[in-house]
Symmetry: C3
Subunit: 351 residues, 3 copies
Amino acid sequence: MEYTISLLASALGCPFTGDGSRAIARVSSWQDADEKSLVFLEKSERPVDVSATARAGCILVPQVLLPPGRDSIISETPKLDFARAAALLAPRPQGKGARHPSAIVSPGARIGEKVDIGPQVVIGDGARIDSGCILHAGAIIGEGCVIGHGCILYPRTVLYPGAVLGDRVILHAGVVIGGDGFGYIFDGRTQVKFPQAGRIIIEDDVEIGCNTTVDRGSLGTTRIAAGAKIDNLVQVAHNVEIGRGVVIAAQTGISGSTVIEEFAVIGGQVGFGDHARVQAGAVIGSKAGILPGKIVRGGEVYWGVPVRPLREYKRLNALFGRLPEMKQELDRLKAITASLQDTIDKLERRG
Amino acid sequence: MEYTISLLASALGCPFTGDGSRAIARVSSWQDADEKSLVFLEKSERPVDVSATARAGCILVPQVLLPPGRDSIISETPKLDFARAAALLAPRPQGKGARHPSAIVSPGARIGEKVDIGPQVVIGDGARIDSGCILHAGAIIGEGCVIGHGCILYPRTVLYPGAVLGDRVILHAGVVIGGDGFGYIFDGRTQVKFPQAGRIIIEDDVEIGCNTTVDRGSLGTTRIAAGAKIDNLVQVAHNVEIGRGVVIAAQTGISGSTVIEEFAVIGGQVGFGDHARVQAGAVIGSKAGILPGKIVRGGEVYWGVPVRPLREYKRLNALFGRLPEMKQELDRLKAITASLQDTIDKLERRG
Amino acid sequence: MEYTISLLASALGCPFTGDGSRAIARVSSWQDADEKSLVFLEKSERPVDVSATARAGCILVPQVLLPPGRDSIISETPKLDFARAAALLAPRPQGKGARHPSAIVSPGARIGEKVDIGPQVVIGDGARIDSGCILHAGAIIGEGCVIGHGCILYPRTVLYPGAVLGDRVILHAGVVIGGDGFGYIFDGRTQVKFPQAGRIIIEDDVEIGCNTTVDRGSLGTTRIAAGAKIDNLVQVAHNVEIGRGVVIAAQTGISGSTVIEEFAVIGGQVGFGDHARVQAGAVIGSKAGILPGKIVRGGEVYWGVPVRPLREYKRLNALFGRLPEMKQELDRLKAITASLQDTIDKLERRG
């Protein structure tokens, strides 16, 4: 979808310089840009020789970096406005009501208007799919699932029966929602399965990356609140609660009943023990480990296994790297004190 | 499936109090309970004001916590009996012989009685599926696979050719069984693939979580023994042997030829080097790392990277946290010894 | 495919001893070997009593371990030649032009000669599949994808639109290529999605393990260069570049824009921050953590979180294990210096 620079700037609420009538069709990297591309300069970047390198049609740029003689949109949050521009130039796809003949839709399912149902999609009895959804090839929707308006399910997503999605949820290929939680009680001979009969609710505007798994509640509910974003290959266990706007990077694992409050930011490969709680706005660095039951205070940055405030972690890690010197110093002091002891013994005898 | 309290108590081998004729239909959490729900109180929990909070029809509860005036089943292992009751009230589903017309079953496959074959299931030539199995939508069974009685394969499970499952195995959505192991020999120019032509055997009553991958043997066999339970997104490499009743939490990875003996319990995100051995009954904490070839003694708890007995790990971790104080103390001692040295020098000169 | 020993030896460029006319049909482990099996002895192994244990038809063995009276092929790189022999005895499967009627191939797709298209494969508009490929059941090829000659896509692989594969690429079951990268900018209220519109290119002879995910570039390109080998459940983020012949073990995660140069070897469960660079030939041990932006020098072995050269890591880890003794020594020195201080005080007073 094309915009003139002036229309795009106006939609972003930003001023522009240069030829406002020029047409912009896409966002691009600097390398790939052509005359219909919008590119951006981050505030932190040093000014680049834009005249030499860029064929870009328009530059989103903070005032201080404004290049002379180029069509530009001026923004003090260029990366954010670039993302907004991208959403304008390439609006999120919407279903149009296409249904592939190979799809298997239970007669007992209720399908809203303008829902696209791709090849080999399977929709179970009693499921409800609201308007504008796109179900890509091979998505499998279990019985009684509810999918809100405008959701996109990429190929091979699986919803176990009864899973509930809000509006505009995006599930990437291979995501599994609502599998059994992992709970067994050892009876002395075998592992007896704890019931995994709870619910799974994924609220509006959540996006979940490829091959991530989210288990249903064992009893009770697993819930991912509105606007949370989850990367690839993440594991969300039974009865976990993830708050609004939380961001979780790839391969992180969250054990049962743990709560991550709103707008926390979680790095990759982090591991959470069960029944932990991360308070609102906490930031947890990649590969950190949170012990079961631990409460992580909000508004701070954490790192390490077990997790510690970043400043403390850095200090400890620095000292860890200086263990050889500490050991050496210790040995030296040992020798000195022994020698002092000798001298004092002599002095005492002399005395 | 409904039980009266007296029948349920009798099936569990437990006494009950109150109205034995009351019908119980499901297990529930306290929050979700209704008059047909069974709930439970763990032995370790403090007595709760059950009269105020619970609409539950029946409480599974240890004698010491028995609430007055409530229909209860008395158990000294309430969580275990709750799990058993759950299995009675909602028995595991069994195939009934339904076959969806979109399923593609090789004429050379042998399908037992009462096997449910869902939409778009693919069953290869020479495969054998025993009675009572349920193959959910999109499961793919390679050529020559053997699947025992009463197995449940959730949507989109993949069995590479020749995989062997015992009876009552449960594979959750996205599980891949029998992929090639990861082995290459560098010839100076390219990575030459080591043959991955071995077998994969999964014994009775194993349950494997969503998107977990289990590779076939390279030569020889990968084996998961009876009753082992494996969580989501776990990686089991070629020639691994997992013993009876072993429990492995999410995102753990087990390198080639490692052996985990029976009833070991493995946390999440643990990493095993190749050719390691975990002896029977060992417990390994989340995020631990086991070096290649390492033998982990049975009957103890381990933690850390590389893995150490828990007590030792805790002590080291505590000392790690005290490195700043140790450094400070070291600096203080350095100053003191220097000052002592001075004084002694003076004393000596004076002497 | 059978070879005589003499033909096999000749194909490997190795001498043989014994009956060169004997037919060999397969590679085997020692346990599973029969009279048509080739087995091998690694150079590092101690001589085994081959006469007692082996029914193998032929032994690939270094000169120094050559067993008397057995048909053998002599090789100073027996494991490598065993792998080569395996590729001769069981050549990689090639497509023959079979197309299952349930496959859904867009009329706008261009399919080369001798491409096998399995049940329920979906091929989108404008895709190009070159000759000799095998697309197993349920593979989904998005619009405009390009797949080179002789590729094998195992069941349930997913290629997002526009993904490009070179020749002889192998994707194992559940692999997802070209999903959206993970990038959001917080606008104070919601996480705004950064555009994920770049490319994904996987070059010749790459092999990728089950359920691994590789994201497309956000802007620009994610690239996996020729001959790289990636294990199961690995995460490759947007704009990552993986060099020729790189080997990456299971469950490793690579954050955005990180570069791993050619022939680096990466262990399992390693985590890379974004914009890091691993120079050619570096070896990174399992569970290591590489900080964002970090440059890891080539030709060395690394370990730990954050990553350190192996020798340094080993030394630090050994000292970590001796923290209790260091603490004890520190306490002892504290007591000694206090006692020395006392003595000196007395000497001074006496003086």
